[in-house]
């Protein structure tokens, strides 16, 4: 049994981790922390949880949010998930590693290898030396490195939905690395549980808008990974939008295929990379992903349209932003880190509604 702690358990990503871990057959949830709800049980914070948690050996009523006190966790847990805001994460990671606790960090703090790129989008990095050790937790792409690592920088939701479809085509030289565009749409849960006018029901309901055009912090994250894999500086045009729904994310990606690309080669490439991946589903011609098809699953669905004449390709990808875009991929990474079947705890089917 993997002994697990979850920091930031009272946020939407944190509680999604609690849900997955509580349904996971090979883990034991030993500690949860919350800054806003210290001393409260999870069942107090989320009434939906009352009575559940028996799989944990105790009910959620008895699972109390504590302070994040690394000293007291030492020796008690093998792995800490950090569902904390960036900057807060890196205040804790070095000490966790010192205490031999592996870390899967869901903030942006350890997603970059290039400290300058991080610092230009966020703020000063206080443990730059760890950026060499940390692995970018895009499971299907960095599986081998994740296995050997003690520190995983779990990808952002938007980057996951964009990189998974683009990397195979880039690596196989089927699309050009410049001129890439991702028009991405996220459900409101991506904005978290903190209150704001833009996530107030009456403001988000029956509306739709783009935001942070040209300066969303996921852009440098996407660019770094694209650049590494295409061995040249890539600069994607990325426009995020807010959908009036709770869970789910869909990216519509526009690229120019290279001269030698054909629909068949593109399809074969996707199948070669992902055909055996349990969480990636390549859709048949003329089929396109929908958010309802991936909600509640750790799947990334990919469909595409290729125009043979113009060599333009339109790729659609859909994920559940809280699962493959956050907590689900984090658990997948835990499974990799600890040598479990990657699907453990993630393969229950979650009907169409």
């Amino acid at each position: 049994m993997i002994k697990v702690g979850i920091a930031g358990a009272s946020g939407y990503t944190g509680v999604e981790l609690v849900k997955l871990i509580s349904n996971h057959p090979e883990t034991k949830l030993c500690a949860i922390t919350s800054n806003s709800y210290k001393g409260s049980s999870l069942a107090d914070i989320f009434p939906s949880m009352r009575g559940f948690g028996r799989g944990l050996g105790r009910r959620f009523e008895n699972l109390i949010c504590e302070d994040l006190d690394i000293q007291s966790l030492s020796g008690k847990i093998d792995l800490m998930f950090l569902a904390l805001p960036h900057k807060i994460s890196m205040q804790h990671v070095p000490a966790l590693l010192d205490h031999k606790i592996k870390v899967i960090d869901l903030s942006a703090d350890y997603r970059f290898t290039n400290a300058a790129a991080y610092e230009s989008a966020y703020q000063e990095h206080t443990s730059k030396h760890l950026l060499k050790e940390s692995v970018y937790g895009l499971s299907e792409i960095y599986r081998d490195q994740i296995k050997e690592s003690n520190l995983v920088g779990n990808p952002g939701c938007y980057p996951t939905s964009i990189l998974l479809p683009l990397l195979p085509l880039l690596k196989e030289g089927l699309i050009l690395p410049h001129g890439l565009i991702s028009d991405s749409k996220s459900g409101v849960s991506g904005a978290g549980r903190s209150l704001s006018l833009s996530t107030h029901f009456c403001e988000a309901n029956e509306s739709f808008t783009a935001y942070k055009i040209g300066n969303h912090r996921h852009t440098p994250e996407i660019n770094e990974i694209l650049s590494i894999h295409s061995q040249q500086k890539v600069s994607i045009t990325f426009v995020p939008h807010l959908l009036p729904l709770t869970r789910g994310m869909l990216s519509t990606i526009y690229a120019q295929a290279t001269d030698n690309a054909t629909e068949d080669k593109i399809r074969k490439t996707f199948h070669a990379y992902y055909g055996n991946e349990p969480f990636l589903r390549i859709l048949d011609k003329n089929m396109y992903p929908a958010i309802s098809h991936v909600r509640g699953t750790n799947c990334c669905d990919i469909g595409f349209h290729f125009d043979e004449k113009t060599k333009k390709i339109i790729i659609i990808s859909a994920i559940d932003n809280l699962l493959k875009g956050a907590a689900g991929q984090a658990v997948q990474n835990m499974n990799i880190l600890f040598g479990l079947d990657e699907q453990t705890g993630l393969n229950s089917f979650q009907g169409p509604l």
Copy 2:
């Protein structure tokens, strides 16, 4: 032209008043106030308003939220709408009246004639003497008194949806005054524009719940009016619920009819009271109100089901909580106060979607 001021213009009810007044042919909007957005224009606060307001003689870009300074309003306006929280309203009303400014107060502060009833639900009343002067602004019922008044206590949204169907039946002795139940459901805009966890998109969306059972402040307001009209102490059972939609309110009301009641008498009574009312629509047998049918209108739709054997009656009423439940009825009351046709500014048809 009636010269009008609106206090609290940056809230959902306040801006709905601005919209109605800006489309009203017999008014001039002379001043708006906002505590949170002092110095901002309405077009800054609500981008939907940019470019509009020409009917006012100036665009909303040029309509700036001011402090509520009665001295400076003196002589400049004939009427002030107060879309303020209770307790704040009564800090201003006496001075407004002193300056010969008529007041339509959308808070609860002047809805009661009985100060003790007000004080048990809210807090100490600082201008009790005005409760004798103020008129309860349920337009169809108190029209004659409103005409003569300088101070209207505009009804709460729930009371409007409950009193309009009940009063005719009570007054005609067709239902018993005890055992009344109203199971009422409101859209989220009823909770206003202030942020709270229960109106956070992800918490309200795809959910539904009852709240404040047994202690909602609209209960004593409903009971006072029911008691006056049935000449005995009435105590309704009132349960409010929160619907996952923006605008609209529906009350399902259960009553015991008296022995002499028949379906025909009930229907005739509704038609006698409301058949000529432009904003009340009595539905045919087996037709029931829907929120989508009243959204965007000042209408109250009423349908009912009567069981001849048991003499039980179920009445359904629907209103737009921001219109007949707040700003629309306030403008209707202004029309009454100033001797205009009651429909002025309120009769444009607002399609099915």
Copy 3:
């Protein structure tokens, strides 16, 4: 392993059964039927299912909808779930039983013991003799009879949400059997997957309405069970409403308590009946159920408000209409029928979003 068949697998209830059975550790899904999608795989009908189903030993791509041919099922399955319309179910049940296949019927056909009551609400019953054998599948109440039965009439969603809170109070004489009212609200999935104007997105979205007042077919079903348990003819006032959300149901129930009732006795009665039930959660004072708290679970949450002076009680119950209101309770009944722990396959926690 229990060998299971599911008839009507392409409807919302049917596919929810498929989901539960595919995640259930003690069953094998051997056959599914669909009238509208004969020859199609479940993954064709519901793209969300693509790639899943490995727990079944085969993917949903390979699970093909067949005709309901009892001959061919004979000997191959132990249990058939019928997620079919009423009248269609009873065309198949006698033959299924003849072939020693147990039946859990989710239609209304075997919910009544009184054929006349059934016939007045539906149509002629073509296998009346089975009504004596069939057991009403309200799991917590009829557990002992379900254990011994071969034919379970799985309760309607509304009746489940109303009977679970009322029966303990009625049986203990804490409420009067007359004057009961249930104001119930259901999500749109309760209306199924067949197209209709009232479930067209633009018509249901941002709306709310009551329907079938005085003639909903669940009324006689509720009355029959209430009458049996209170040993007198009970006639509830039941008003169903349509909520603009996909899953979930909430009933607000009004009753008159008897003179000897106290809040404490009521609470103790609920705890005596349900304190050990895994799927029933009795809420603390001033806490009320919300649809978001039960969505995705087989739970029924119950909260109440008691007015000591008037002895009026307001009870709120919430369920997921597709789970405790249909497929979840059906699987719970299967667990009872086959001597499994009742929570098997039903106890995974389904986060707050």
Copy 4:
């Protein structure tokens, strides 16, 4: 007074036209037709309309859907709006014109000047000769031609949202005509009132998907107009998506600016073209349109982001698909045709909610 008829009044676009015409001070609604609801009144079809229509001189209860019988309309109406499916429209247009009835056709039948382009996307055109006479009803661009015309092909909703922002930049040579991409998102009302699985509440709610990639019929319509104005063959990449909301449309458009373009020039161009247009609102830097800001109005909001280094421009436009995208623009065109102020009947402000 303009005497008006509306064909197809029972659809969402048709009834939106009825609403606008009934609130329009210079028109008289003389006839409505509906294929599905012949003999029904509008108040029967849309209960929200009961009691309204007094502005028409009669209530909607008395406005009955008739057959489209041109003989009987001859001499009685000056203008016919056709809110009919393509192919049906052109069955009636020649006869209407023969009877001296002007036509604003909301189908695609008269949007093209090039019959071959029409026929490749739709079907054989049965009155090709009229394509030379008909004017494309993009009001701000074709105002002068509309004035002189008897037949207006009212633009599609997607084309309106895409062409309005692109045409000024193309005509001024500020963007390249090739490589244009529009990622567009529409509310469900765009799919009309006919039932389909994709617009069933439970399927559309909480979902989002792309559809008809590479073969949406609005693509040739957009391309024809873009080509005319850039004097070369333009081929846009257009991807429509379905939003889980009722009304509204937002297009995110990607273009490559020419070398001489600057942010300032682009902004000035928009202001030069649209600064005095009552229905076009150019947003300040870092402000972007939202569907909630245009819902219920005839406005098109345009915001953009320009990257000086890469010369890439991202333009966001938002409209209400039923107003500027259909019925609103049709009424604007009527105002132009009959020499009225373009804002007549279209300038009432429609609050933020």
